[in-house]
């Protein structure tokens, strides 16, 4: 099974540069997720790999073969589209068989392959139906079936779950992950949803404005973000940022409250990043701040509290029964070792 190499990919649309020099190695069998806000170039990059867009510069190599000059059909790639892209005039069976027929497979092989894929995705009973008779989730399965039925070198997914409702999405996410484990093929998956990225990926590539912000294992990006953008993008609710000033081992918040800090950074002002789960309510803790709890959102197992602290709102994950403190000014303890400091100018993480 071949590796994929992207070497300095650039894509221009007129004066607008959508992809600004991306280099990436994707070893065979990896589940890679390209994630980023809309307009970050993730879909353009995926479509360039598929051959649906011509790249302006750079080289795409698949298994040692440069493929960026080839037509999509010559690349031996399979792709699942967000809109499913099923042929409405063909049955589910023929939709799945479409790629095999295009490549002139024998009828017996087609039949075996289609049934194998249908069984894997639990859509055997739908094979004779037309796409319009199917629910959104079933259509998505057919679209995935059409991709996996062929023995491709690379499987591309362009936001395949964004048209599904939340509950269905959770189920399909798990199935796609299981599918990858069963097939052992290289998956490249584009999404704007950081939860999808975190749960599915073996490696996340976080894109912003046509460039890679950071690439790495999901927890690596989550726990050691390179910069404020990555820190803010991953995690839900997102990381809280408070502007603080550091001087001689003390960190001062805008409202004058102080904490001692071990951070080995020069004196000056920084953005202090604290994830919701790194706050807790403990009247006797050290590293404690006073803040008023404005809104409590119980989710059952935990509650999210919105505090007013030092001129800004911060969200903290609290125990389930936090509602009792609503409207009160209470003590918030911070797990200082898990917080991060970012440069106010560049946004780079400094401590």
């Amino acid at each position: 099974m071949p590796d994929l190499h992207l070497d300095n990919i650039i894509k221009n649309y007129g004066d607008n540069q959508a992809v600004k020099g991306i280099s990436l190695e994707v070893p065979a069998g990896e589940f890679l997720v390209l994630v980023g806000a809309s307009g970050c170039g993730k879909s353009t990059l995926l479509r360039s790999i598929a051959g649906l867009e011509d790249i302006s510069q750079g080289t795409i190599t698949l298994g040692g073969r440069a493929i960026n000059g080839l037509a999509p059909r010559e690349r031996n790639i399979a792709m699942v589209f967000q809109s499913y892209a099923l042929y409405p005039y063909l049955s589910v069976y023929e939709n799945i068989a479409f790629g095999l027929r295009a490549r002139k497979f024998a009828e017996a092989d087609i039949d075996r392959q289609v049934h194998w894929a249908a069984e894997l995705l639990d859509i055997t009973r739908l094979l004779q139906n037309k796409p319009r008779e199917l629910s959104g989730g079933e259509r998505q399965r057919v679209a995935i079936g059409r991709a996996i039925v062929r023995d491709a070198d690379l499987y591309l997914f362009d936001e395949p779950l964004s048209n599904l409702d939340a509950k269905l999405r959770d189920g399909m996410r798990e199935e796609i992950k299981r599918l990858h484990e069963r097939l052992g093929k290289t998956f490249i998956y584009v999404t704007h949803d950081q939860i999808e990225a975190m749960t599915l990926a073996e490696r996340i590539v976080l894109l912003r404005d046509g460039r890679i912000e950071q690439a790495g294992a999901p927890l690596e990006l989550f726990e050691q973000p390179n910069n404020q953008y990555v820190a803010g993008f991953l995690g839900s609710p997102p990381m809280n940022f408070i502007e603080v000033s550091l001087a001689s081992g003390y960190m001062t918040l805008p409202d004058g409250q102080q904490l001692s800090t071990q951070a080995a950074v020069a004196d000056g002002s920084y953005y202090w990043g604290v994830r919701p789960e790194h706050w807790s309510h403990d009247d006797n803790g050290s590293d404690t701040l006073q803040a008023s709890l404005e809104v409590v959102q119980p989710t059952g197992s935990r509650s999210y509290g919105t505090f007013y602290l030092a001129g800004t709102h911060v969200i903290a994950e609290l125990e389930a029964h936090a509602l009792q403190w609503s409207g009160k000014r209470i003590a918030l303890t911070v797990d200082m070792a898990s917080t991060a400091l970012f440069d106010t100018q560049s946004g780079e993480r400094v401590g």
């Binding site: 051959g51 649906l52 499913y84 892209a85 042929y87 005039y89 790629g99 295009a102 259509r139 059409r146």
Partner: protein, 275 residues
């Protein structure tokens, strides 16, 4: 049927529907009726509403004299020009939609050709055809009808092709089809309703043409529209021949519309993309 459709309202609806139907169907009936009437019945006053017996003599005359060849000529010119115009126009439309050929304005420019009153170009075309020896030939009329219909086909097919989700084509290309195979296996089936509807109208345009057929034919390639007018004599007018010829001219239209009706109804593309 809901409650309000009962009693008087229902009657009113049926009466109006009947009136409209008669209004539209009567001329066709009258045409058919005359073609079967005997000469006395044609001129009888008060008019004879139903011919006493079916008199096929007008039709027999048309077949015996070889006048029916005019219908054949119409079929050939309209049929072949429809096929050609559909071929060229559909490819042009595909190119405009998917490759943005000619930018934003080409399609408007193409349809503007359709806005010129045909009579304005009749004379130059006649002179051109004389010098090319195309007067009174199949090729001449077919070329003309094809040229006149390409803008219409391009314009109509442009709309139908725009409605096809591009992902269907992209998915097919990734699955292993060439661009031409995509056209045949994805675009054609997706635009099938539009293709048939456009073809029917294109055929009707060519079929109903009178002015160019009149100017550009002499004796060999005379279409049925021109032939019919030939029966209006200065001495006498052959009503039964005219109506028999007209019936023969209307029949192919009936067949075309009746067989294509189910394709003209669109809706084949539903379910392709979640809307």
């Amino acid at each position: 049927m809901n409650k309000r459709d009962s009693g008087l309202r229902l009657w009113l609806r049926f009466t109006i529907a009947l009136f409209v139907t008669v209004l539209f169907a009567f001329p066709v009936y009258w045409l058919v009726a005359i073609s079967f009437k005997s000469p006395e019945e044609v001129y009888a006053y008060p008019p004879v509403w139903f011919p006493q017996q079916f008199n096929f003599s007008s039709y027999l005359t048309l077949f015996r004299d070889g006048d029916v060849w005019a219908v054949w000529n119409s079929l050939v010119t309209a049929g072949i020009s429809t096929v050609l115009a559909m071929l060229v126009g559909t490819l042009a439309a595909y190119s405009i939609v998917r490759f943005r050929t000619g930018g934003d304005h080409l399609s408007i420019w193409i349809i503007s050709q359709r806005m010129i009153p045909p009579i304005c170009v009749a004379f130059p075309i006649f002179l051109l055809y004389v010098s090319w020896n195309l007067v009174d030939t199949y090729v001449g009329l077919i070329m003309l009808y094809t040229a006149f219909n390409i803008p219409y086909v391009t314009w109509m097919m442009r709309g139908y092709i725009q409605d096809i989700p591009i992902e269907l084509e992209q998915s097919a290309m990734i699955d292993g089809l060439t661009r031409w195979q995509v056209l045949r296996k994805v675009v054609m089936p997706m635009a099938r309703g539009g293709l048939f509807a456009t073809a029917v109208f294109t055929f009707i345009f060519a079929w109903n043409d009178f002015i160019f057929a009149l100017i550009l034919s002499k004796s060999e390639v005379v279409t049925y529209t021109v032939k019919v007018t030939g029966y209006f004599g200065s001495q006498s007018t052959f009503w039964s021949k005219i109506s028999a010829m007209s019936v023969l001219g209307v029949l192919p239209m009936f067949v075309v519309v009746a067989t294509m009706q189910k394709f003209i109804v669109r809706g084949v593309s539903m379910g392709a993309v979640k809307g």
